[in-house]
Structure formats: C-alpha cells, structure tokens
Symmetry: C2
Subunit: 303 residues, 2 copies
C-alpha cells in the first residue's frame, strides 16, 4: 500500500456527521478505509450499518470501542463481558478484525462505557475510601481477569482485542492502562491473534520508553493500529478535547513514525481527533486538512 492508501479517518474526527455522511466523505476523499465508533453503528442499527459499509466499498479499519473492565461487583463484571461480546460480534459483522479496548478507570470515577466525548469523571465519590475504589493495582488485576475471560470468545470469532494505553490524564476516569509497555505486559499471556495494542500518538508521545516498547510491540506482532493526532497546548478546558490536527501541537511525528516503521508496522493509519473546534468545521474542510497534514507530517516517516 502507498502511504496515502494507508490513511483512514475515524468517525470521532467528524463526530457530528452521520454514518452515511462519514462513508460518503471518505469515499469522496479517495480513502479505502474508515474507522468506526459503535455509536455511529447504533444510530442506524448493525444490519443497516453493515449494508451501508458494504455499499460504500470501504473497509472498516477498526471499531471503537470495547473495554470498561474494571467493575468490582459481579453484576458490573457480567454486564462488561456481555457488552464486549456484543462489540466483538459487531466488529466481525462489519468486517474488521480489530476492536479497540479502553479498559476503564477506577470503579468510583470511571465514565460510562457509552460516553463518547464527555467531560471528566464522576468526581470524588464519598464511598471511594471504603470500597477500595481508589486502588489502581486491584483495578488492573480485574482488567487482566476480564481480558482472560474474553480471549476465547474473541479467538472464536476472529476478532482481536486491541488494548489502548490512554494518557495518564485519564487513568482514573477512562483507563487504568497508561503505557504501551503496560499494555504489552497485559497482552503477554495471550496469543497475538487475540490481543493486540494500538499506538496512539496523543496518548503515548511523552513516554520515555516509547521507542523500546514500539519495537517490542512490533517484534511480538501486536501492533493493530497506528493512530495519529496532535497534543495541543495549552490543554483544553475539557482535557479530553485537547487533540489537534497533526502539526498544531507538540508531537514529533517524525520520530514516532520512524519507530513504528522500524517495528515493521505497515498497516492502516487512523486519524482520530476529539476537538470541539474541529467538530464545528465543515466536514470537507476537516477531510482536506487531515489529508494535507498527513501527507506533510506523517506519511514521509512511515518507511
């Protein structure tokens, strides 16, 4: 594939577009892939979404998102397993092998699984001290336990659980998984066909062990996606929305792109940007800017 053929727009980048609009925009932009969020699929229903994707001729590069595996109570854990099995089946129906997993935060602070773009967490819960709801180590053990329970189902359906390390800003309310190395440790007991990792520049650019862990991810055959967007300064008032077009922030796409290429990754590169200002731009302008910045700042370093 040429560098341009590797580009895919994640629907979160044009969050206000309908699924039909997002598919049309991607086709019009000359792309061959699209990254989907489950809320876009849910808007029309899975069967209709499958038909629409098929008619568009696009391939689905990934489905966002499963995860939220940190519940400490039995019913919460059962609900998480059921939701993730549903997500695996949705991914399979949509023709992608990659389901992106945001593993969830501390039980007393985690946002709900369906939250696409909410603000921070729930805020301090009075019960946090009593329930052990602030214990990160325990929460991480529960993620490992739930992941092990999901792996056979994922393998059976040919879908890979793709662990996403989130920026440590989100360790309490979205993901107790904060580094690529930690994601690879969590994946280690399972085959690479069942558990992968995503390298998302926004989340991992700061990591002093990034080069080493990208190389490790490549050697282990676990890089399922390379997601790019920038980290804007100053951090947005709603920290979740501090992503930017490549080039607008602080990230060194040359170094990270080179490391990903050196690790042997030659798959799809998804652009996923949460940014209120970008969501308010005309969709076509967003697509044009993404293509231009990708060509200028990302593609030259992909090997």
């Amino acid at each position: 594939m040429s560098a341009f053929e590797r580009l895919s727009i994640n629907t979160a980048t044009i969050k206000k577009a309908s699924l039909a609009e997002a598919l049309d925009l991607s086709v019009a932009a000359g792309l061959s892939h699209i990254g989907l969020w489950r809320d876009k699929v849910a808007e029309v229903g899975l069967d209709m979404a499958v038909e629409m994707v098929k008619a568009s001729g696009l391939q689905v590069s990934s489905l966002c998102r499963g995860g939220f595996l940190t519940a400490a109570d039995g019913p919460g854990q059962a609900a998480a397993l059921a939701d993730n099995k549903a997500a695996i089946l949705e991914a399979k129906a949509l023709g992608t092998t990659e389901i992106i997993m945001v593993v969830g935060g501390l039980p007393d602070f985690s946002v709900a699984p369906g939250a696409v773009d909410g603000g921070g967490g729930k805020g301090a819960a009075d019960s946090a001290v009593q329930t052990g709801g602030k214990d990160l180590v325990l929460a991480r053990h529960r993620v490992a336990d739930r992941l092990a329970e999901l792996v056979p189902f994922a393998l059976e359906h040919g879908v890979r659980l793709v662990l996403e390390a989130l920026h440590p800003m989100y360790a309490a309310d979205r993901a107790v998984l904060s580094t690529l190395g930690q994601a690879l440790d969590l994946a280690a007991p399972h085959p690479a066909a069942a558990v992968g990792v995503v390298v998302d520049t926004f989340h991992v650019w700061w990591d002093p062990s990034l080069r080493e862990q990208i190389a490790r991810a490549g050697a282990e055959g676990r890089i399922a996606s390379y997601q790019v967007c920038d980290f804007n300064l100053p951090i947005a008032a709603d920290a979740l929305l501090s992503r930017g077009f490549m080039g607008d922030g602080v990230i060194d796409f040359a170094s990270i792109g080179r490391w990903v290429a050196e690790a042997g990754y030659d798959g799809i590169v998804e652009v996923e940007i949460f940014n209120e200002d970008i969501w308010n731009l005309p969709y076509a302008e967003v697509m044009d800017t993404v293509k231009a910045r990708y060509a200028e700042l990302v593609a030259p370093h992909l090997g």
Copy 2:
C-alpha cells in the same frame, strides 16, 4: 520524628501569603519545617529571608525550584547553569540540602523558569519543526548533560539536586522527565548525595511501575522528599491547578504511603497544592484542612 513532626507546608499551598505570613502560619500550626519557593525568597531578598527563617525557628525542608535545563542554544544553556548555581547557593544559605529540579520542557514550548503558576505553554511555535524543538529524546540528552555539569558545584556546596518527575500532562511545557524510573536513570551516574528524587503523588500516582520504582529509589538512597496532594477530577480548566487537598481527588494515599515507608523513607512530608480555590481561602483554614487531611489520610500509612 512523629508523623506530625514530619509535616511541612510548601509556600505554593498558601501562594498569596508573604514569606513572613507563611513562617508565622507554620509556627502557629506547630510545624517544625517549611518548604519555600524562590519567589518568596526573592520578595524580601536572600539575606533578609535567611534572617527571617532563622528567627522563626523553622527548618527549610526544600527550596523550589531549579532546573529548566533543556535549552538547545549556548546562551540559553549558560543562563540555565548560572541560575541553577544561584539556586544551589540560596538553598545552602537557607539551610536546606534539597533543591527541587523541574527539568524543563521542549525548547519551543517550555514555560519560563520563574513561572510559578502560569497556564499552559507558549503554544505551537512556527519554528518547532525546523529547530528540532519537538524532539523529546534530544531534550532529555541535554538535561543529562546539564545535570552532569551541575553535580560538582552541588557536591561542593552540600546541596542535592532533587529531580522531580512531572505528570506527563506537562512533558512539553515543564518537564521532559515524566516518571520516577526515568528520574532514577538520570540520577544513576551520580552519587546519591548529589542527585536525589522527589515522590510527588500528584505527578506519579498513575504509574504502573510506581511501587517498584519507589523501592528502587529507597534502595539507592535517593528519596529526598515525599510531597502529597490529590489529583482532582474533572481536571481544572488550567490543568496546572488541578491539585487538591488530600481526599478530594482520586489518589490512593494508603498504597503510596505504604510503599514510601517500605522503601525506608522517614523524612519530611511536604504538602504542595496549586489550586485557585484553595489560594482564595483564609490561610488559617488552609492550614487546618491540611493538618486534618494529613492526620486522616497520610500519616497512618507512613509506618
């Protein structure tokens, strides 16, 4: 020392108080130590500050801050060395062996060394791509080089350069040093009497290798300070000010305190909180709340 005798208030917590007021408040609260920022010292001049501290009977637990070592140009590097030598001499004069080092961000985004409470960084600089100003790896090499140049001067004056890993939110504009493990790697070539580390809960609570790295820091004799405050959610609109009183956020002080105690640290515990709402409270109320939360949430776990 009893747990209460180990408590020290950093002047950043009562930022609007003068040095005289901060000293009086600490004495009135029954404390034996105080943590100072250089701006408070500069307000009255070093000689006067030394006299005032002596008259108060308090010991200075640490001086904040040296650092900002990432300049890529000769004049910037010379200025950084001169400023850090001045900070070392100030620490010595004030009777503390510990100068806290915030190592600086990417050259094109780093705030100025004197900025106590500013917002985010400078924002994207047009020249960033051209100057290599986004290269984190190079910036970290420059920190190591400047540190090596400062070590002999620090040893000569009996002052320890205390490396502070900052939360990865600040990797671009304040510190390219983001984890305790990275701080210990940076310290490794130098004697423990010359280069130490601080464990600041706000910055490191999320780190999956925290327990292991605290143990390592203890074994290497490098823990120079344990600083406590909480990480509030949602993250404040100015992310620098998202610190809170212990108990108001997401941090598990029981686990981290136990790890610090297990690592053999039995020194001062500083409370350093940047929070606009707390700065606007009556100083006495801040002191009372800090003492109460410390007694309830921190002291019981210090061994």
